[in-house]
Symmetry: D2
Subunit: 153 residues, 4 copies
Amino acid sequence: MTYTQQMLDAYPGEINLDRKHLAAVIDALTACAQTCTACADACLSERAEDLPMLTRCIRDDLDCAAICATTAAVLSRHTGYAAALTRAQVQAAIQATKTCGDSCGEHADRHEHCRICARVCRETHDALNALLPALRPASGEEPPSQAAPQQRG
Amino acid sequence: MTYTQQMLDAYPGEINLDRKHLAAVIDALTACAQTCTACADACLSERAEDLPMLTRCIRDDLDCAAICATTAAVLSRHTGYAAALTRAQVQAAIQATKTCGDSCGEHADRHEHCRICARVCRETHDALNALLPALRPASGEEPPSQAAPQQRG
Amino acid sequence: MTYTQQMLDAYPGEINLDRKHLAAVIDALTACAQTCTACADACLSERAEDLPMLTRCIRDDLDCAAICATTAAVLSRHTGYAAALTRAQVQAAIQATKTCGDSCGEHADRHEHCRICARVCRETHDALNALLPALRPASGEEPPSQAAPQQRG
Amino acid sequence: MTYTQQMLDAYPGEINLDRKHLAAVIDALTACAQTCTACADACLSERAEDLPMLTRCIRDDLDCAAICATTAAVLSRHTGYAAALTRAQVQAAIQATKTCGDSCGEHADRHEHCRICARVCRETHDALNALLPALRPASGEEPPSQAAPQQRG
């Protein structure tokens, strides 16, 4: 069991999502951010004549790394009461993993790091798509004046 | 003239956006990220009896800070050729600044830092909304195989 | 084998560190960043009367999360030729995991999430300390004019 | 007056540092992070034959951007009671701005974006060095059991 899952199990408040599913998505996002950061750096270490065709891949890697890391942090605050924000950020991550997965996929037969990165992006993309339908408040977005899920003493 | 504007003026490639407008949006996002980080910390320093009603504001501050910082980085790679990704992330920031601006707005008459933060969120929200229509590729999203905007020797 | 390890194995350049060891440290940092983010949020969901004594823990969690994430990114660019920078950031992470581990450790018997977080901080602290001696350039810090580890065509 | 300064003026707790000085350092770090992100992207848009000699600069830009952003966030939580952590992170930023300023400085006569970035790195480096002596707890590092600077009701 990952620490992400252990921390969700130890969470003192309510979570409007399946904790095991949520943990798997957060772990996928964290792994994807790390892989994209590593892929950008590996691209920069490729042969000089390959660099020009890798600049787009490097940029998509950097965008995808930043977006996945932020999405993991937002989901770790699993604020069911701010579902509109969470949904919008998850949708950005769905797009980023699609764009980066496609970019890396183009170089997959030439560069092993791009092959691995394309696979991680697609797995994360699928995990996010599977989570999206669950990111709905029970009865419409609650206004901010409603209490956050505070445990009562 | 901010460094952001100076750097965009020195950019060697093409940018499909008005550089002055883009610089203003990036600077707004950077200021908003900073303000939200500061507001979360200021909330934590409020009186013990005020803390329970500020936990939602703290979470929205942290989400908004992370999302604005990531959006600023994505826009700094102003990849007109990856407009779908950029649009999705900008839309997440539009939602985050709305959510956080509303949260802070509720405490604006009680806490000066929330009043300032709500204002910065709304200014950033408006700046992002004004940029959104420009984030369209000239003729449909280009496939990743098309060259990145590389300067020719 | 984690994706981090797979990506290091696929790295086309030279790495002046044991790749398996480096992968383990990066994975520890990533897990620690995630755990600290989750612990800060879990603290915010504790009972109202517990919040005042948890504000320091929340701040240390947020600092440690940011520092560990940045350190993981810096190590993922495993630039042996910029050892001074890497060392300084690793030393900041050693301090952050110490500070946060101590903070969370104080609440370990009361809050399960703090108990887990203290453990992860200490494991990461130990992993960083074990890596530190290896972060030395072979023969003094090389000047920036020396070539980066670019693969030759 | 920047929002950073306004937020520090509105801070409800005690700050063991001169607020105007602290605001200036945070603003320098934020500008430096933004400039380094922009410089990395500008380097990627340079001519194909220039790319190989810019890969080190790109990596130093990315490291410096991440480290400055994290240091700004840590200083925004200006936790005088965790001075050891703050000092260590500020020292990492001092090293990162030195390394990156030197890297960019090498290309300053050839690339305008590197010239600007080198200047911002050096300004930030000097600002951090000037802050460092103030980052000392009044009487030794306080143990974590001491109360955080909570406003009393």
